[in-house]
Symmetry: C2
Subunit: 490 residues, 2 copies
């Protein structure tokens, strides 16, 4: 066996040996079942340390080139043959027919929303995208995250990869509970359930409370992704109109006089999509309505921490001394969307009932991410990140609103949020999502069509813009393009 070893090469010696032998085997120079020289002999022959050859053989075994039976570690293994993939193979099953009707419905919605759908492909690669609600990745505190990961892998070891408890990693629940108590919400770790992001939290709550004879009330417009999962879970949706000061509470009261609701869903801070924050009075009245009618209130605090203009009213959960509020939180909006960690806090029995559903739907949330997040919170990195984002987004929101004043026509109106990322724009013409995208694609600016946010609407005179994933220049440019588009519309 002839191996070419280059001592000047930056490639490690063991790697050179591995690659040389791989090539010999792949080219058929050495055949199946042939033994390689013993590590001692080969080491001597090419003049390297024996441990270098051992490492190379281990690598070859890991890659499947050598046998793994005792006594034949040196022997070349027959390479497994890959079967060929046939993309034209048809299924005997008609999946449309086998799916239940809710699964059919959600699939159609999925295709409508799909990134590969024709709607979005009209845009040039250089289009300004001011539609996305996930945070600008350069603002992720990567270095702090790395430190926490290393700490956890070093300190917690294999525990970080074992099954976690159903409710979630206890120290994480404890530190979240403490944070909540500092924000006026009087809960303990027993009343917290960790979920795979806030979306799973919503799904679980619906799966517990949905009932065929009861509707769920949501603000109209509301968070777009909640509507399909409600429909999928067999929930009838009752939209409550959104006014300048928040959900129309007279309308809600009239609804409750007519029928029972499974729950009411609200986003009191920087509402998605409108950006509206409700007053303390509005929160008190909403809670009182829930108390009067004994109906659970789901409060989505998804951007609670993004109050960069200073004080906003305390969460409704903080004045809820009758435990009717189910509060949702997430780390996806100010930290890392892809970490997939959210949580629910509510009455202990309610949390345990939701935990039962989670336990059988995915066993538990990954321990590692929870442990890293705990470390991150404990070290104060999260608070530092929040302060940093406050400085940055206070400025970005100012720039966005100023540029809108300058560039958008008088016929258009929009909200002026006191935090968060989204601004809601009203135009004087109703458009479907396809019409809006087609129109905007001429001006190379992507916004989020209003129809996504209303229950049962295919066209609307609104759209949402978001400053979450754009820097100052991108915001200015996107809004300038938007201005050109809207001027041509009027």
């Amino acid at each position: 066996m002839l191996l070419r070893i280059d001592r000047q090469s930056p490639k490690p010696l063991y790697k050179q040996i591995t690659d040389e032998i791989k090539t010999l085997i792949d080219q058929g120079v050495t055949g199946t079942n042939m033994p390689l020289p013993s590590t001692r002999r080969l080491a001597k022959k090419i003049g390297v340390n024996r441990s270098t050859v051992i490492r190379a053989y281990e690598e070859l075994q890991a890659l499947g080139y050598l046998k793994s039976k005792p006594g034949s570690y040196n022997k070349i293994q027959k390479r497994r043959k890959e079967v060929k993939y046939n993309p034209r193979r048809k299924s005997l099953i008609d999946w449309e027919k086998y799916s239940n009707y809710r699964a059919k419905e959600i699939y159609e919605i999925f295709l409508r929303y799909s990134p590969e759908s024709p709607i979005k492909t009209n845009f040039k690669a250089t289009a300004s995208n001011i539609s996305q609600l996930d945070l600008y990745p350069r603002l992720y505190p990567m270095e702090e995250f790395r430190r926490c990961v290393n700490h956890v892998l070093h300190e917690n070891g294999s525990e970080s990869l074992e099954y976690g408890t159903y409710k979630g990693y206890e120290p994480l629940r404890r530190i979240i509970a403490k944070r909540l108590r500092l924000h006026g919400i009087a809960v303990s770790e027993e009343e917290i359930l960790i979920t795979n992001g806030a979306q799973q939290a919503i799904d679980l709550i619906i799966r517990m409370l949905a009932a065929p004879n009861r509707k769920v009330a949501v603000e109209s417009p509301t968070y777009a992704n909640i509507l399909p999962i409600m429909q999928f879970n067999g929930v009838k949706i009752q939209g409550i109109p959104m006014r300048e000061e928040g959900m129309d509470l007279d309308y809600l009261e009239k609804t409750l006089e007519k029928e029972m609701l499974s729950f009411i869903y609200t986003i009191p801070n920087f509402q998605n999509p409108t950006g509206i924050t409700t007053s303390h009075q509005h929160r008190e009245r909403l809670l009182n309505i829930c108390l009067t009618h004994k109906v659970p209130l789901v409060e989505d605090g998804f951007e609670e921490d993004m109050k960069y203009y200073g004080k906003v009213p305390l969460p409704i959960k903080s004045i809820d001394d009758k435990n009717v509020v189910i509060y949702l939180g997430t780390f996806s909006k100010a930290l890392f969307p892809g970490l997939r960690i959210g949580w629910i806090t509510a009455d202990k029995e309610c949390i345990e009932r939701i935990t039962a559903i989670k336990r059988f739907s995915d066993l538990s949330t990954g321990n590692l991410a929870q442990m890293v997040l705990y470390e991150f919170l404990k070290r104060g990195y999260y608070d530092l990140q929040i302060r940093r984002l406050h400085r940055i987004f206070r400025r970005r929101m100012q720039i966005a609103l100023k540029t809108m004043e300058e560039c958008l026509p008088r016929t258009v109106s929009w909200t002026r949020p006191s935090g968060g990322y989204t601004i809601w724009v009203k135009i004087h013409k109703k458009l479907t999502e396809i019409e809006l995208h087609e129109f905007m694609s001429e001006y190379s600016v992507i916004v989020s069509p209003g129809s996504y946010y209303f229950p049962r609407k295919r066209s609307s005179g609104y759209f949402r813009i978001s400053i979450a994933k754009s820097n100052e220049q991108e915001i200015e440019k996107g809004i300038a393009r938007l201005g050109k588009a809207l001027h041509s519309l009027s």
Copy 2:
């Protein structure tokens, strides 16, 4: 301000400064709104580098001791007051009443299974636990995992914490597809969906295919955690008796002649709980039945890789040229249970329909875990791990079966698995789970009651033991104790 700094201390200087100032603030020596000395002044005064003081002030800010408004970074912040938690606060909502009946049912099952339930607390801390199916944590390849995490955080950076694509990280799907093709399953990455473990995969499939007028057929006994989630999703369960050679196919055919099924669920290798592996002939006939009746077959390959006694028949999916098989895989059984990564492979349209449900139920699976797993597979670490486990568990299973021969009475019989972790034991007396646990607690050995694994059974003449989380000594000791218990039973 007097700070005690000890230059001989192993504690870093910046940390000493931080802690000293914290103490002064906590003790009220320096009050709210008071400014700390400028970093320059303090550095000069105590004779340290200015950067040391800056780091200390940053730390104090992160911990909430200093204000975060521009121009007042040195000023002491009023400490937020924590609200007090009142554990006796009652909820106005009757959660039992508000839950739908399926949520009520699953909560009752959860309480039955709960680790805090009275059933298990009877055992002494020194009891032998041969009931658990998760891998012995000392066998996790932690060092290799760490290397992969570091690589991903370094190479992929913030991408690892962004939202992932709905189907999962593409390189991971590609490498899984390649592995599957090497095992005879002809699929591409387009036909793979990554899930939060195999449990989520099962939940998603049920949510798509469950229909009010159709049952689902499962082996009886079968995987315990699948039964509650089927019930919860409104599925009626049809148990098909498990024989020595696998699911009773005559019984299955008769069932299919009488009624339509949503799907058939099977575990052909090292079935949980029985440990039975079906023959190639059995697999062919089962597939043919599905083709004849055009019914989807869900093949759970959860321990596919644990064939440590050598060859087992190829997966049913490998002979499925009509795309009726939905195949489930997981990395929880041979690698890390807590990583929560599983996958589904099936006909492309089927996968896309399941993806639609996943997209709205939790948006996506965490990118970081997927990227690390990809790196782990690419480097051949997974194959090394499998070979290592094969050596270890071949031996452990031999010891388990040998000890059973020696210690268990003649009146008892059990399966002799050709891989995997579980052995199924038949006794001559029917016991409920509580009766079995109470009896076994006297002999300090924990096994898994058979009634968990049968649809609608509260007592059974079986139990499952598992060698996954015990070493050789623990297996011997546990089975010896089991022998004593069973001798006293007969």
